[in-house]
Amino acid sequence: MSLVHLANFSAHIKNCTRLNISSTSVPFTRLHLQLSFLLYKEGFISSVQRGSNAGPDKTPAEVTPDNISSRRLWIGLKYRDNLSVIRNFSLVSKPNRKVHFTSTEIKALASGIPVGIVRPLQPAECMFIQTDESEILEVQEAAKKNLGGTVLCRVR
């Protein structure tokens, strides 16, 4: 997983929300799929669909080495009262400064306490953690599962 790709993803989503675009597409990768899934689960986006450069798939298509370059993940952005639901989307770990927390620190973070350089979690804010098994989880879920890991990004 690349933090650079994650930064590109967050910047792209922010740019789209500032232009009030209804749906956008990102390359079809595991990272993007995991993050979009979590954003959908937390209610930040309205839909996640597989598709190609042309648009979301009308009939499901298999991903093969022949079509991988044109496969995209289509994300439906959510707005409320003419304002985007995603107000901010920023990285916590940077490519040159990874933030790794133990399960105790994650629990503290989940309960709204500032840990190290990470500012406390605000109401209606989500933070995503990459566990040691390369699984991406929301901070509350990671705290429930008693897991530690790298703090990737925060969304509100």
């Binding site: 079809f28 990768t29 595991r30 799929l33 995991q34 979009s36 899934f37 959908y40 689960k41 996640v48 597989r50 298999e62 991903v63 093969t64 080495p65 991988i68 879920e141 429930k144 599962k145 008693n146």
Partner: protein
């Protein structure tokens, strides 16, 4: 306050730890945990150390576990079996009767003490077992985490994408097909290059007939260019000049285009036999065709 109380933190009146009643022999066999703990303690004589020899003693390399004596057995051996039996109290003195009574009372007290201690130890064991089970359960529940029913029902599709690999790899058949395709493309490109080179070579060969190679030919060419066909020379010079300037004489362009079209249609190079014709001639294919055509014409005539 004297020094004697210092070991009790300077406090007097603290009773010493009660003596363990079942110290010499355990009342129940060791549990698995106790056995594991016992095994983890490094004790006994090392292999390199010889066992000591002492008259009347037997030494073991490893510490032998103590013999288990249950509470019932202990009561039977120390109380029941030692109770004086068939005593005729009428023949005894008052002191002896009193002693017997005192003995009975002491035995009863001992029995009660054994039973009470047994109950106490049992309670402690039960409490410890309960605590260990609770701690185990807590640790297990910490590890276990299950999603809610609502989450399970609403988000199965995207999660299923994340289960396996993102992309399906090519099957061996597809891979083989792709390799064939690539090889074909490479070879066809190579053939194209070779053919164009051959064509260029043939064009050069055709042009070679008009090349000036001897002095006499040079004289002749100069005379022809500057004295006999002066107009053609001027026309050529002008067309070269036009080309350099970027503009072209339409007549010249037209004739060039016509030549190119004719060449392409007949497979020729500068109105001379093209590569295919030459190849067929060399192979004898053209001759064969000609003969077949002649035979066909001959057959049709008769």
């Amino acid at each position: 306050m004297g020094n004697r109380t210092l070991k009790y933190g300077g406090k007097s009146g603290i009773l010493p730890k009660p003596r363990a009643i079942f110290k010499s022999n355990p009342i129940k066999p060791m549990t698995e945990q106790e056995k594991a703990h016992h095994a983890s303690i490094e004790q006994g004589y090392a292999d390199s150390v010889p066992l000591p020899v002492k008259k009347g003693f037997s030494f073991h390399r490893k510490v032998e576990p103590k013999k288990v004596v249950t509470v019932e057995e202990r009561i039977r051996k120390t109380i029941d079996e030692r109770t004086p039996k068939n005593v005729d109290t009428t023949q005894l003195k008052d002191e002896e009767i009193w002693k017997l009574k005192v003995g009975d009372i002491r035995r009863e007290h001992l029995r009660t003490a054994y039973l009470k201690e047994y109950e106490r130890l049992k309670k402690i064991d039960e409490l410890e077992a309960k605590r260990a089970a609770e701690a185990k359960q807590a640790e297990q529940s910490k590890q276990e985490y299950e999603e809610t029913e609502a989450t399970k029902l609403t988000l199965p599709t995207i999660e299923s994408y994340l289960q396996g690999p993102i992309m399906r790899q090519r099957t061996p058949t597809e891979q083989a097909l792709l390799e064939h395709k690539r090889a074909f493309n490479r070879k066809s490109r190579e053939l194209e290059v070779k053919e164009s080179r051959a064509e260029q070579l043939l064009g050069l060969y055709h042009q070679a007939s008009s090349f000036v190679t001897t002095e006499a030919q040079l004289e002749k060419a100069i005379t022809e260019a500057f004295e006999i066909r002066l107009n053609k020379f001027n026309l050529s010079a002008m067309s070269v000049k036009d080309r350099l300037n970027g503009s072209k004489d339409s007549n010249v362009t037209l004739s060039e285009n016509e030549d190119a079209i004719l060449d392409a249609a007949h497979g020729q190079i500068n109105r001379k036999p093209g590569l295919n014709v030459v190849r067929d001639t060399i192979d004898g294919e053209l001759e064969k065709l000609k003969r077949q055509a002649e035979i066909a014409i001959h057959n049709n005539q008769y």
